[in-house]
Amino acid sequence: MSISAVTNYVSLPTVHRRVRAYFAPVNRVLQMPAIFDPSQTGQFSLDSPPAPWIDLGWIENFTRKSTSSIGSLNSGVSSVAQYQVREAVGATVSLRFKTWSKLTMALAAGSQHMNLIQSASGSAANGSGARGIGAVVVQPGSISTSIVLNAGDLESFSAGCMVAVDVDYTGQTGFVGSGVSAAYVQGATAVNNDPDYIRRVSFNVARVSEVSANGLQLAQPLLAGAPVSGMKVQPISGFVDREGGSFFQEWSAVFVMPGEQSERVIFHYPRLQAMQGAEESTDTLAAPLERVSLNASFRALPVTDSNDGEQVVCFRSFLPGSATLI
């Protein structure tokens, strides 16, 4: 059947049903956030965002607040506002992640987020995980979804296990972690000179889908891409965060509200830092079953818009649908 098209442009309200979240790490060493340009990639496929954005799925309870304040300059005997001044610029954003993962949990917690490295036999108990079993060296030829290992190093791994892949801690100071600045190390003594410390905080984690004679096939790509020389791999059993900690993670974020008439509202926060500790909320499915969500709340930090030099904390874009009068 052929269908001809007739377009009567109309003025339509924006109707949307949900919000999708994408995050990208801020390069803390270079102080470079990820910048989303809606003029270039505003219409990206929601299922495959452009690099370096990581899809964290549909979120709920998305709430934006402006904390900017505007004051007035008054003059006259009966004081009358003559001018306005922008006294402060700020914004917060809060949301709930529907699913738990390394990234959503870490974003919601906001401080160092640790991997529970499979503990070595007899190691002393510790709240954020005990001393781990020995890490094994990643061999050349590894890629983001496949880790080549020596045949003798495979015994600690099985299909379905989870792994952390990163370099040894060898006395580095400053931001550590491949792909994402996962923590800030002030000195070797602060982390007990633990060779596993970077793998303990690293975001370079994945689930193993298959163990072959050559190594590990991963069910998801490593966030830092192909492993580099010097990286090692350790099995992990899960994740842990803490109420407390001195480190602030920093992320860039894009939130997309797809409208029902193909319009799109996009909120881009180049720099977000968590402004609350770890917190959950629940929705009752059928008592006593409850779905547990991760609450996250962020404060937006400024960047300079190179178009005019203004300091801003958020960009809101609107890409109208094809039938909407603008």
Partner: protein, 162 residues
């Protein structure tokens, strides 16, 4: 509203034909995908089995917007007695299969509104969109299991539409 109702029906019919080509029915002497719009067919004493029957019920219109927004309620009735080779003992599975098919063909939850009263059909400016289905409890009558799913269907009224 008629264009929105037609669009909703044709969209689901086409999706069903792709999803499960075996779900067919004989209607007015023709084999068609197993879905029909009740108000556009002759009145029958009993709903067909193993097919989806659309029944339009509620209507609300928000006339305060630049373009009036209509919200219509579509009830999707479906009933099954299972299959003869299994003596109907698979009627629970058959109903579950229809549940899954309905959930599947409702996604994505929008479609370009099309005026099918013209030949060729004319694509209109806006989209019809709908919410998630609200499934009722399954009811049992003799050998048949029946369920009703309610779906809120929305459409902006365009120039020249009723």
């Amino acid at each position: 509203m008629e264009n929105a109702k037609d669009t909703f029906y044709v969209t689901l019919r086409n999706r069903l034909a792709v999803l499960n080509p075996n779900r067919v029915m004989m209607l007015r002497g023709l084999q068609r995908p197993g879905i029909l719009m009740e108000e556009a067919e002759v009145v029958v004493p009993q709903m067909p089995t193993d097919a989806f029957v659309l029944r339009w019920t509620g209507l609300d219109v928000d006339g305060q917007l630049p373009s009036a927004l209509a919200q219509m309620t579509c009830e999707m009735h479906y009933t099954t007695g299972g299959t003869q080779p299994n003596a109907g003992l698979d009627r629970g599975r058959a109903l579950e299969e229809m549940d899954a098919e309905l959930f599947s063909i409702l996604s994505p939850s929008c479609a370009q509104k099309i005026n099918y009263t013209q030949t060729p059909a004319v694509a209109m400016a806006t989209k019809v969109f709908w919410g998630i289905p609200q499934f009722s409890s399954a009811s049992s009558q003799r050998e048949r299991l029946t369920r009703i799913a309610k779906i809120a269907v929305f459409a902006f009224q365009e120039q020249g539409e009723l």
